[in-house]
């Protein structure tokens, strides 16, 4: 009996060693350890052994079984590793083949610039609002302290529907709408389309976009205007951006200024973008004119505020180095895909 067991063990181990496939290994498992396997048969014949020998012999059978099982597992693991390795070798691909891309669309550069500006001001607590594109004379001019005979109202600048209605020439009218709502303090920006009677060329368009900003509160100062817009410029054009405020004139602000930023292309050394000056004019701004506050029902002694207007296309053209404004309205996909 012992010899038989020894024989089975040796045969099994030999067969395991010579098995060339997982199937073969399985056959060995079945033929030795299976229900009808040789080892199982030996176990079944235990009854023929003397009672006192049985525990010892049982131990031997179990040891042989464990040894065979272990050998089977080891051989299987080894074989699986080999097969995986062969598979890896067979599955090598040329990773430089072209990618399969989900063809996503592209946002218009104007919108990208607009969202950048919006996000900066949202972060500073500004609400984004909108106003009508067809406006009344009152909101576009009169309430902004632009009197009836002002040259800005000339037909050469403004598209009129009739005497009372026109296409807004600036987003500044939204200031008035917002102030008239009567909810103070105000911190808002108003992006939108504006219209001026300019023939289409590389630097002009009869339709373009502005972003208006307005802050009204107690104790708002020109220093606050400077600080806010300097912060904005740094966010938009980079931490090293410097700003310069030059006196200017707008009917609806006093004092008024234009803000230049240090050229973000050359850092202020002078290049073709800044026409060699090192500075780029970016926006107009000022403290809200007391007449404008009064007309909108706000006491200019109790409240003050500042306003600013940014030309969106100007920023988009400069930032993305677009050399012709007409490209913005042609919608050539080869242009749009670059943003």
């Amino acid at each position: 009996m012992k010899d038989r067991l020894q024989q089975i063990r040796e045969d099994a181990l030999r067969q395991i060693g010579s098995s060339a496939s997982l199937e073969k290994l399985n056959e060995v498992r079945v033929s030795v350890l299976g229900k009808k396997g040789e080892l199982t048969a030996v176990l079944k014949s235990m009854k023929d052994i003397a009672a006192e020998e049985r525990p010892k012999f049982g131990q031997m059978v179990n040891d042989a079984r464990a040894e065979i099982e272990h050998a089977l597992e080891e051989a299987k693991a080894k074989m699986e590793r080999r097969i995986r390795a062969e598979q890896m070798k067979a599955e090598v691909i040329d990773v430089t083949l072209p990618a399969r891309r989900n063809k996503v669309g592209h946002r218009h550069p104007n919108t990208i610039a607009m969202e950048e500006v919006e996000n900066i001001f949202i972060g500073m607590g500004y609400e984004v609002v909108e106003g009508p594109e067809i406006e009344t004379d009152y909101y576009n001019f009169e309430a902004l302290n632009i009197p009836a005979d002002h040259p800005a109202k000339d037909e050469q600048d403004t598209f009129y529907i009739n005497g009372d209605f026109l296409l807004r020439t600036q987003t500044s009218g939204t200031q008035v709408h917002e102030m008239e709502r009567g909810k103070l303090p105000i911190r808002m920006i108003a992006p939108g389309r504006v219209f001026r009677s300019d023939e289409v060329d590389a630097t002009h368009s009869p339709s373009f976009h502005q972003i208006e900003g307005l802050v009204i509160d107690k104790h708002i100062t020109f220093a606050d205007l400077k600080g806010t817009l300097a912060e904005f410029a740094k966010e938009l054009f980079g931490e090293d951006t410097k700003v310069k405020f030059r006196p200017h004139h707008f009917n609806f602000t006093e004092p008024s200024a234009e803000m230049d930023v240090s050229c973000f292309k050359c850092g202020g050394k002078g290049c073709r973008f800044c026409k060699g000056t090192g500075w780029i004019e970016i926006l107009g701004c000022g403290l809200v004119h007391p007449n404008v506050l009064k007309m909108s029902g706000i006491d200019p002694e109790a409240y003050s505020g500042f306003a600013f207007g940014i030309g969106l296309e100007r920023i988009a053209l400069l930032k993305y180095e677009i050399d012709d404004m007409r490209l913005l309205y042609e919608n050539d996909i080869r242009f749009l895909r670059q943003f």
Binding site: G105, M124, Y160, I161, S207, E254, P290, Y329
Partner: protein
């Protein structure tokens, strides 16, 4: 406005700075310098030479050989120069550029080369020439600016020029011309004196206004002329002075140089003085030949509609009642503030001149000039609204110059017809408020010192700042704050952030929905387009809209850039189709675009209230994809913005511009929120799109009203689902939408989902029919469904389908 720095320095003699320093400093105090140009740019080694002898060139008929005395300018003092110039003679003093020097341009007066032209010694036909005698063009100027220059030849310097001296200096060209951008509120700065005053304060140097003293003769002005202003609303002041014994001659060199630098061509002393004072004081003046003025009387009044008038440029002008005219006792002699008449034009043999300096209504002049199509130097000044006080100062200054420059005599007194002059404005001086506005802590003394330099007065007892008439732009405390800020320095004001109540930064709900729409469109491969809000009325025909289509009721721009931009769009498709066509023509493949833009729907026409501006989300594509691609975009969008109900697609959308069998209105919750479809091939033809194109338009106000970002977790199913397939044959006219409607209505509470998995039309199916197959999925959240539950639901569905005339297949 262009002015030579030397003219500014005439009033601010202590001004000392480089051109760049001047530019930067003036710009920072609000007088923006656009550019500056040195008049002596590229003029090097040019000296006064005197011609000692002229000989013919032995080998060239057209050349001469000159010997020149160059004084100390060259070693030995003598120079031989060969020239072809025909106008020189022995004794002439001429500008000579010597070897190694530079001139600004060629003798033809063409565009000036950036780096000038180098001059070297050389041989002309074998004879050595050691330099060049210069024409005015070679010196970078023109005969317009130097009227005494010969038509074609060397510029002859005045006898007084010193041999060997700097010829550029002798020509008055060591100067810089600054071009300013003056803001419209600073009427006073459209004059040399105004800019000089700003320069003086900017550089903190004294400002010296011209001392105007008129030496008058014995005659009385009032004996020569009387003035009557009938329309005082358009003419607040009319000053008249008389100059007798006029002797027309060239004006002095300094005056010519200053005018030339300002871009004004010197003509003669009388014209030059008028122009000079216009530049200096910003006050246009007009000179009439008194002998042409009937009755020696001036009447200022409106023209009559339809009157005609011959202006001094020889053009006949048609007038109207809103144009102000200068008349004599019999006839019109000038259009006020715009241009004089041919009939009172000054000629060279004028004996007595009537000077006019008036203050006309700016807006009226602007409108009149526009209607006449005649914008002149004078009207350009008047339309800004001039200071009435300045008119008197200017006319006196002109008369002073007439007398001092020997142009004529000045009679006693001014005939000055003046309606009430505005009293000087006074503004309470509130230094605390100024500091509050600026965010500064400046002393009252500093503020007052700035005001004083600017020419503003201060009444200490009343604490009032007195505004001079030339600063009509200063109206209140905010204006005074700006004056303080300008000269304290915008750059020195601190930078702070607003304090006070915190506010929430956010996008409006509408803008958030639009942002989502952009994200979805781009995710689906659409790129963002932008097109104009105005378009051509021809668009309606291009889009095959019927004559009755309400979209034809567009708002019309009264002064458009042209017919193509003359109406406000009422449909958003034209921009999209135009953009697709542009891409198609440029052979771009598979183009997908979307746009956000308003359409403008009038509530009534002509417009009496603001129109309805409706934001439209427009999508369009050609190439890869079909109707259902577009439908997919809409459904992705609806999903993201919380439009959870099932949208209905109604093929009876009636859009002429779409394929009649491939279009649908998008109906959500019973409301039409948009449409989609294949563009009608005729419309594609109109736009030049040579392939199938698809569009969709969603009306954002309706969408936004129904959108929501609220989300609620509904649990993940724990119990298994059961699915059943339904296979059907039906007439083509039945829409799968009808099947889905029945499944939804009859599927019961356990219906989870359904999906179309096969649709077939063709030879295996009988004529006019299609086969359609659906999978329907049931699930209950609380328990495993039993066969009976499903059978009951399926039976209801199948009955419903049979009711539609659908044939079920096993």
């Amino acid at each position: 406005m262009n002015t030579a720095l030397s003219w500014i320095k005439a009033y601010v003699p202590d001004l000392s700075c480089t051109d760049q320093e001047y530019t930067d400093a003036m710009t920072l105090t609000g007088t923006k310098v656009e550019t500056f140009e040195r008049l002596d740019k590229n003029l090097e080694k040019i000296y006064v030479g005197q011609i000692l002898s002229i000989e013919k060139h032995p080998d060239a008929d057209k050349l001469i050989v000159c010997q020149l005395d160059m004084g100390n300018a060259v070693e030995g003092g003598r120079l031989q120069i060969v020239t072809g110039a025909p106008n020189v003679k022995v004794g002439d003093k001429v500008p000579v550029v010597i070897d190694g020097g530079k001139v600004a341009g060629g003798h033809d007066g063409g565009p000036l080369p950036e780096n000038g032209i180098k001059i070297k010694s050389g041989k002309l036909r074998g004879i050595e020439s050691f330099g060049m005698m210069c024409s005015i063009e070679e010196l970078g100027s023109s005969k317009d600016m130097y009227p005494d220059a010969p038509e074609n030849g060397i510029y002859i310097l005045p006898e007084s020029a010193e041999v060997g001296a700097d010829a550029v200096e002798a020509l008055g060209l060591h100067d810089t011309v600054f071009e300013y951008e003056i803001t419209s509120n600073r009427v006073d700065c459209y004059s040399v004196l105004g800019i000089a005053r700003e320069a003086a304060v900017t550089f903190d140097q004294p400002f010296y206004a011209p001392e105007v003293v008129v030496k008058e003769n014995e005659q009385k002005t009032a004996d020569f002329i009387s003035v009557e202003v009938e329309d005082q609303d358009l003419c607040t002041r009319y000053c008249a002075r008389i100059c007798t014994n006029i002797k027309i001659a060239p004006s002095p060199e300094w005056m010519q140089r200053r005018l030339a630098a300002s871009g004004i061509r010197p003509i003669n002393n009388l014209v030059d003085i008028t122009n000079y004072v216009m530049e200096e004081y910003g006050q246009p003046m007009h000179a009439y030949d008194l002998d042409t003025i009937a009755g020696h009387k001036i009447v200022v009044k409106r023209a009559k509609d339809g009157d005609t008038f011959l202006t001094l440029d020889g053009q006949e002008r048609t007038l109207d009642h809103d144009m102000l005219m200068i008349n004599d006792a019999e006839k019109a002699i000038g259009i006020a503030g715009i241009m004089g008449g041919e009939n009172s034009k000054i000629t060279d043999d004028v004996k007595t001149v009537l000077f006019e300096a008036a203050c006309f209504n700016g807006a009226n002049i602007r409108k009149s000039a526009k209607r006449l199509g005649l914008r002149t130097e004078a009207s350009g000044k008047f339309e800004k609204g001039l200071d009435a006080k300045n008119a008197l100062d200017a006319i006196n200054r002109a008369c002073q110059l007439i007398q001092e420059l020997g142009c004529g005599e000045v009679t006693q007194g001014v005939v000055d017809v003046c309606c009430e002059l505005q009293p000087e404005r006074e503004i309470e001086f509130r230094p605390v408020r100024i500091n509050e506005l600026l965010g500064t802590d400046l002393s009252a003394e500093l503020m007052l010192s700035i005001f004083e330099k600017l020419g503003l007065g201060y009444k200490k007892e009343e604490n009032m700042v007195v505004i001079p008439s030339f600063r009509q732009d200063l109206e209140g405390i905010a204006d005074l704050a700006e004056e303080v800020a300008r000269f304290y320095g915008y750059d020195k004001i601190p930078s702070t952030l607003p304090s006070g109540e915190a506010t929430t930064g956010k996008l409006s709900f509408k803008l958030r929905i639009e942002q989502k729409a952009r994200e979805i469109a781009e995710f689906c491969g659409f790129s963002q387009a932008m097109s104009y809000s105005f378009e051509s009325p021809k668009v309606f025909d291009k889009l095959l809209l019927s004559q009755e289509d309400p979209a034809r009721n567009a708002i019309v721009i009264s002064n458009p850039l042209g017919e193509d931009f003359s109406i406000m769009r009422t449909v958003s498709l034209n921009g999209m189709l135009t953009s697709l066509a542009t891409n198609y023509n440029r052979r771009n493949k598979d183009v997908r675009l979307y746009e956000f833009g308003n359409i403008y729907l009038a509530k009534s026409l002509p417009l009496t209230e603001l129109p309805d501006e409706r934001m439209q989300f427009t999508l369009g594509f050609y190439g890869d994809g079909d109707f259902f691609t577009m439908k997919g975009v809409i459904e992705e969008f609806f999903d993201v913005i919380g439009l959870k109900k099932k949208a209905v697609y109604d093929p009876k959308s009636g859009k002429n511009f779409l394929h009649p069998g491939r279009q649908a209105n998008v109906i959500y919750d019973g409301v039409t929120v948009g449409f989609l479809g294949e563009v009608h091939p005729d419309v594609c033809d109109h736009y030049g799109i040579g392939t199938k194109a698809y569009v969709a338009v969603l009306d954002m106000p309706e969408i936004v009203a129904r959108a929501s970002f609220d989300r609620k977790y509904a649990g993940v199913a724990k119990f298994p689902s059961v699915s059943r397939d339904i296979s059907m044959v039906m007439p083509k006219s039945i829409l799968v939408g009808q099947i889905e409607e029945i499944i939804e209505q009859r599927g019961g509470k356990n219906l989870e989902s359904y999906s179309l998995f096969d649709i077939y039309e063709g030879s295996q199916i009988k004529e006019g029919h299609k086969s359609v197959a659906y999978t329907v999925v049931f699930r209950n959240k609380e328990r495993t469904l039993e066969e009976a539950d499903i059978n009951a639901a399926m039976k209801k569905i199948l009955n419903g389908l049979e009711g539609l005339g659908i044939e079920l297949r096993s």
